[in-house]
Symmetry: D3
Subunit: 227 residues, 6 copies
C-alpha cells in the first residue's frame, strides 16, 4: 500500500457507502482493470509504461479502500436500523470487503471501457478520473471520521494527478495516424446542429476538430517533487 | 427519423454485429439515456437545452439502427452456420431488433454515466462520443452493403458533431464554481508520479490544472450550414 | 411532458422507492422500450401507429417520474439513517435520477419482452400495464406528499387507458393468419391437466382456444373526450 | 419426467439454441419459478393448487429440455466453426446443460414477474405461456431431428393447456375485491388517447374495463381426457 | 415441505436479510439448481441418485425459506425507516418472496458451478454447503424470533449432512479414470511456490496429490437413524 | 509475467474461447480477486501471506492469458463465419482482451466467493482451483497451437500447486475455534438421509465430521525445487 489507512471507529453504514469506490462504476478496481486492459493495444512504449504505472497504483488504491471498509465493518454482523445501502456484508461476506457497489450490485466488466483506439481510450480515462474525483467528494462530505477523510483526500488528489498525466499522454499521441482523431470532422454531416427540443438553439453549428487538451504545463506554478 | 435507412440485402450475421450500436456499451440508446439523465441536474438553461437536443437526436439514431437491424434480419429464423455473435434474434425476438449487444448481453443501466457534476458529465460525454465513433469505424470495415455503409457514415459524423458541441459546452462552464474543476490540483499529492512498473519513468511529475479543451473554433475553416 | 409534476418537499427515501418506476422491471422506460422494439415487426399500420403513440407517451412518463425523483432527492448528499433501498444517488449520481430500480439494480434489457409475434407481444403489453398499475398502487400508499400523489394518480390511470387500447388491438388482430393464435389448441396434449401437487384437482381439463378479451366497449358508459 | 425425450443424433449448435428454453427469458425454469413465487400470496386455495400443479409441471419440462440439450451436446468439446450462439458448454460446463440462454447470458431472477396481485400475476402468466409457445415454434422450424421435434411439440401444446387454465383462473377471480381489477378505469385520465406519433389516430378513446377473457369453454368441442 | 415453518411475528427488515438464502449466492435455489445441473453428466448411477436426492431436498428448503420470508413480510407495504437491504418487496412484489438476495440483486445462473467433471463438481458442492452453513450462522445471530431460529437451525444442520454425503461421494469416485483427479500433480510446474508478497514464505513447496477427504466414518460415534 | 507467452499464429475464434479464463467464472481474474478479498479477514499471518502470494500469482496469470488473447486476435477486425462465441472483440474492444467470458458475458463480482470464514473460504478456493484446471483441460483439447498449449500446460499445473497449498492451509487451521468447522455435525438433523428421488437410497445416513483433507505430504515422492 502506498499510504497507510486508519479509521477512528467502526461505522458499518459508511462502510457500505465506501464500497462504491471498491466495486462500483467509478471505483478503483474498475480504474485499474481499465488501464490494464487498454495497455495491450498501445504501440508507444512510453504511453504503455504510463498506463501500467497508473494501473498498478489503482490496484494499490483498491487495497487501501478495501482495508478501510474492512476496519469500518467492525467485528459483529448486525441488522440495526442504521444500515443503509447494501446488506451483503452482514449476511454473506462476514464483514469482509465485497466486489460490489454501495447498493450491493456486483462489480461488472461493463464498467470497463476498452476500444483499442488510443484517443478514445485516453478520453475515457480522463473522464473516469474526473468521475472518481466526484464520487470521493460526495463520500468526503458524508463522514466525519478523520482517518477516513485523510485516505479519501489522498485518493482524490491522486485521481487529479492521473487526470493530468492522461491529458499529457493525449497531447503526445495527437498526431497518431492510426487513431480515431486522424480523420476527425471531415464531412458535412459533422457540421450540423439539429435543434430537436424546446426552447431553442443556443449553440452554433459545430466545426469539429480532434479533441485536444490545453497543455497543463503552460502554467508557471512550481512542479511537485519527484518520487 | 433524421435520415432514411436502407440495406442492399438481408444479412443476419451482420445484423447481430450491428446490435452493438443499439443495445451495446457505446450504442445510441446508451448515449440518449446518458444525456437525458444528466440533464436533470444541469443549472445553465442553454447547456440543458443542448443536452436535450443531442439526447433527442440519439434516440432518433437508435431508431435508425434498429430499423437497419430489422431489415438485415430478413424474414426467416435460421440456424445456418454463418451466424455469429448473439443468436437471440433467431430464437427469442422473432427477428425483431433487441435491447442487447452483438454477443447478446442485455442492455444495462451500468453503461450510463451520471454524476450530477457538470464537468465530469461532459467529459464522460466527449469520451462516449469518441468511443461511439470508433465502434462505427469497426462496423464500417466489416460490411460491403452500400445502404448500411451510408447509414454508418452519417451516424459516425453526427457523433463528431456532438463531440465538438460537448467540448464547447465544457469550455462554457469552465468557471463554474460548483463543479469538480473548481478545486482542481491544489494539494501536493496531486503532483506526484509513482513509478510502479518496469521499464521506467517517461513522464514528469504532473502539475494538475482543470481539464480544458483547445477551442475548436480557433480553426479558420468555413462553418457548416445551419439546420 | 404531458403533465406538470411537483412535490411538497424533498424526501430522498421515497425518491429511492420511486426509482422503481424509472429503471425497474415494470417502469416507464421498460414500457416505452418494449413497445418501441415490438413495433418493428408489426404489419398492420394502424396497430403500429398505436404502439408508437403509446411508446412516446411512456417515454414522456419516464421524464415525469425522473423529474419527480430529482426534486425528491433535494440538494445535499446525506447518509442519514432514514435512507432505504438504493444508496447510489447519494454516492454516485449526485442526486440525479438513475437508470436503476428501488434497490439499485441497474435497468436491464431483460425487462423487455419482444417476440415478433403480434399476439404474444400484445398479451405481454397488457400484463405489463397491469403490473405497472399495481406498482403505482404500492407507491401511492407509501407517500403522503400531495404533489407526488397527483402524479402517481395520473400515471396509474394512463396505464389503464393503455391496457384497454392494447386489448382492442388484440381483438383487432385476432384473425391474423401469421400469429401464434392461429393454430392454438389443436392437439390432444393441449387438453390435459397434470395434477402434480397436493391437495387435489380443482380445475377441469382445459379446452384451449386462442386468448381473446371481452370487448371493453360492450359497456354503456359514456366515452371520454378526445385529445 | 412426464414424457420421454430422445434425439436422433448429437447437434451441439442446436443444443446452444435450445438452451433458450432452459435458461432463457421465456424458458421452463423461468415459468416454474414464476408460478412458484406467485403462489405464496394467493388466497384462494384452488387457484393456489393450480399454480403449484403448473409450477411442478414446468420444472419437469425443464428437466426434459435439459436432458435433450445434454444428448445434443454429444461427448467431445469442440470448436468447429458450426458452433453458434453460446460457447460456454464447450469451455466451461463440459457439455452439461447450463443455466443460460442461447447466447450464453445467465438465467436471471429478472425474468420472473411477481406482484402479489392476483390479476396482474395471472395476466403475466398468460403472456408468458404465449411467449413460450412462440419460442418453441421458432425452435421447431430450425431442426429436422424427429426426436427433438416430438419433444418440442409436446411442450408447446402443454403451454397452450396452461394458457387456457390461467384464463379460467382469471375469470374465476374476476370479482376479487383486493385485486387491481377492482377499481379499474374510474377516472377521466384513463379515457384519453394521446396521439403522439405520425401518421394519425386510428383508435377511439378507450373506455377501460377490467381485463377479462372470453370463456374458453363456450366452444362446443369435446373435452380432452382427464389425467 | 420437510419441516413446518413458523414465525413469532412479522419482521420485514429481517425478511430482506433472509432473502439471501432464497435468491442469493449460497442460497437454497442455487444449491438445488447446481446439483440438478451437475447430475446430467454423472456416470455412476448411485452418485447420480444422491445428487437428485439432495437437489430435491434443496428445492424443498427453498420453499421453507420462501414461506418464512412471506410470513415475515406481513401484510402492508411500508417505507418505515427500519427497512434495510432490498426494498423491492415493498414496491414490486407486493410482499411476496423474491428471486433476489438480501440487497435486491436478482438471482443469477452465475452462482451455479457446473463443469461436467465429477471431482470438480463435488468439491464445488462441498464448498457450497460449507458457505451455506456460514450464511445461516450469520442469519441466526441477527434474529431473536424462535420460529425463525428453529427453521435456520434445521436447515444449517441439513447442509452439514449434505456436506458429509458429498465427501463420501468424492472418496467413492476417487479412482475415476475420466476425472480431473486422474492426472493430478505430474509436472514440475505443479511443485513450485512463488513467493510474491511480503513478508515471507511460510509454506514448503507443494507436492500435489489429488484432493481426497479423510473418511468421515472413521469416527466411532453412533450413527443417526435412517429415514 | 512469470512465464513468457507466445502463439504460433493468430486465431480469433480460439481467442474468444480463451476469454473464458480471463473474464469467466473460473478464470484468473476471479481467482486473484477471490483470494485478495478473502485475505482481509484472515487472522493467521502465515495463511494471510499465502493468500496474497497466490493472489499475486493469479493476477500475473491473468496478464499471461490476456497477452495470449491479444496475440491470437491478430490485427484486423473481421466477421468471417468461423467466429464463435463472443463477437465483442471485433466490434467493441478493437481486438484488445476483454473482461468477459467466451460467450461475451461480462466478468461479474458474483463469481467471487467470500464468507469471512476461513474454512469455507479455503474449501471454496480448493474447488475453484479444481474447476480452473478442468477448464484448462477443455481449452487444451481444442487447440493445436504449440505456443498456446505450453502456456495452458503451465497454468494448469500452477492451479494444482495452489490446490495443494490450500489443502495444507486447511489442515493447518483445522482447530480454529472461530471457524465453521468448530461446531460441525452436532445435532440429530445433520445425521439423516432424505431419500427423495427414484430409484433408491445408496448411501448410509451421514455422520458429519468437519471437512479435512488427507495430508498431501504423506506421500514419499521427492519434493519439487524451491523458488
Amino acid at each position: 500500500m502506498l499510504h497507510e489507512v486508519k479509521v477512528d471507529k467502526p461505522n458499518p453504514a459508511y462502510a457500505a457507502m465506501l464500497q462504491e469506490q471498491l466495486g462500483g462504476a467509478n471505483g478503483e478496481l474498475k480504474a485499474g482493470l481499465q488501464y490494464f486492459s487498454q495497455s495491450f493495444r498501445i504501440q508507444d512504449p512510453e504511453i504503455k509504461d504510463l498506463f501500467l504505472d497508473i494501473a498498478a497504483e489503482e490496484f494499490s488504491h483498491a487495497e487501501m479502500v478495501a482495508q478501510t471498509i474492512n476496519m469500518l465493518n467492525g467485528h459483529e454482523v448486525s441488522n440495526t436500523n442504521d444500515n443503509i445501502g447494501q446488506i451483503e456484508s452482514q449476511v454473506l461476506s462476514g464483514l469482509a470487503p465485497m466486489l460490489a457497489n454501495g447498493s450491493g450490485t456486483p462489480f461488472t466488466g461493463n464498467y470497463v471501457n476498452v476500444t483499442g483506439d488510443i484517443t478514445a481510450d485516453i478520453l475515457s480515462d480522463i473522464a473516469a478520473e474526473q468521475r472518481a474525483k466526484v464520487v470521493y467528494e460526495y463520500l468526503y462530505r458524508q463522514i466525519d471520521d478523520q482517518g477516513v477523510r485523510e485516505t479519501i483526500d489522498f485518493l482524490l488528489n491522486r485521481e487529479e494527478a492521473h487526470n493530468a498525466l492522461f491529458r499529457q499522454a493525449l497531447n503526445k499521441v495527437q498526431k497518431n495516424k492510426r487513431s480515431s482523431n486522424d480523420d476527425f470532422g471531415v464531412t458535412e454531416d459533422s457540421r450540423l446542429y439539429f435543434d430537436l427540443s424546446t426552447p431553442g438553439k443556443y449553440f452554433d453549428n459545430p466545426f469539429p476538430t480532434p479533441p485536444s487538451f490545453q497543455e497543463p504545463s503552460q502554467k508557471k506554478e512550481p512542479q511537485g517533487q519527484p518520487v
